[in-house]
Subunit: 136 residues, 2 copies
DNA sequence: TTAGTTGCAAAGGCTTTGCACGCGC
DNA sequence: GCGCGTGCAAAGCCTTTGCAACTAA
């Protein structure tokens, strides 16, 4: 059911009903919810869950590297559960929808040594922007 | 002096002392200030300038496509005056410093048609993450 | 048992807005 | 003079924090 929850449990994470619900809400492909959306969906299953707990839980999942934080628009951050599947994002400039996409080649190889300025580069994120079929 | 201001003036933008100061503060290479930093520097030259005006002005420059908004960390947005020079960003995970870098090839060519899901893709942004020499 | 987790409510950072005054054109 | 731009202060959105009560292991 929830791969995410399994991985977290395997790391000795204390599993509470709140955390289970947050993991379940987040799990799946092409899921990019804001903290508030996660809270709204979590409340349907667990009415008493608080916003603070949702924020804490999401923050921990990010620290553990099991969830990615994506800020594509400067507004609320979105959370992406596919931290272990390399992918990029295609964002609609109209409605803000995010789609996971896969590119050819490794972005890191396109950054010449002369352009690294002594940095130890460890990751590369690509955000493609455009209009989705509905907004075009 | 200020290429940015010249371009804006050329578009029939009404030039006030506040707008001139914001443009001057922003102009240059490797400049990635937050709205608040822009305000702080603007105040040195024009003590009465308000934060609201700085925000309004930056927002307009972004709408006009003369300045880019970069949100690399989910915190305050940063403003990049090099909107007309294609480049990518190298961000230090330690101190948040941003460096402009140039990659080889066009990122758009790495997104296969099958991965576009009907979107009209118009731009691609790459953010490289790592540690700068001081933070490493 | 007991250290880690939760909920509440308040505070905090960043940004936007409403409205009256002021100024570029 | 007209209309856009500005400043102020207040409100807004998103997020974090302090602390007492609670609960998984």
């Amino acid at each position: 059911m929830s791969d995410l929850l399994e991985r977290l449990r395997g790391r000795g994470w204390r599993v509470t009903s709140q955390r289970r619900v947050v993991a379940e809400v987040l799990d799946g492909d092409h899921v990019h919810l804001t903290a508030d959306e996660v809270h709204a969906r979590a409340v349907r299953r667990l009415p008493e869950i608080s916003r603070a707990t949702v924020y804490n839980t999401l923050g921990e999942m990010v620290s553990l590297g099991e969830v990615l934080e994506v800020s594509t628009d400067g507004r609320a951050k979105r959370y992406d559960p596919n931290a272990h599947r390399p992918h990029q994002h295609l964002v609609c400039s109209g409605c803000g929808t995010i789609r996971d996409v896969h590119t050819t080649g490794d972005p890191l190889s396109h950054l010449p040594a002369a352009e690294r300025y002594g940095f130890t580069v460890s990751a590369a994120e690509i955000t493609y922007r455009g209009l989705c079929p509905s907004c075009a």
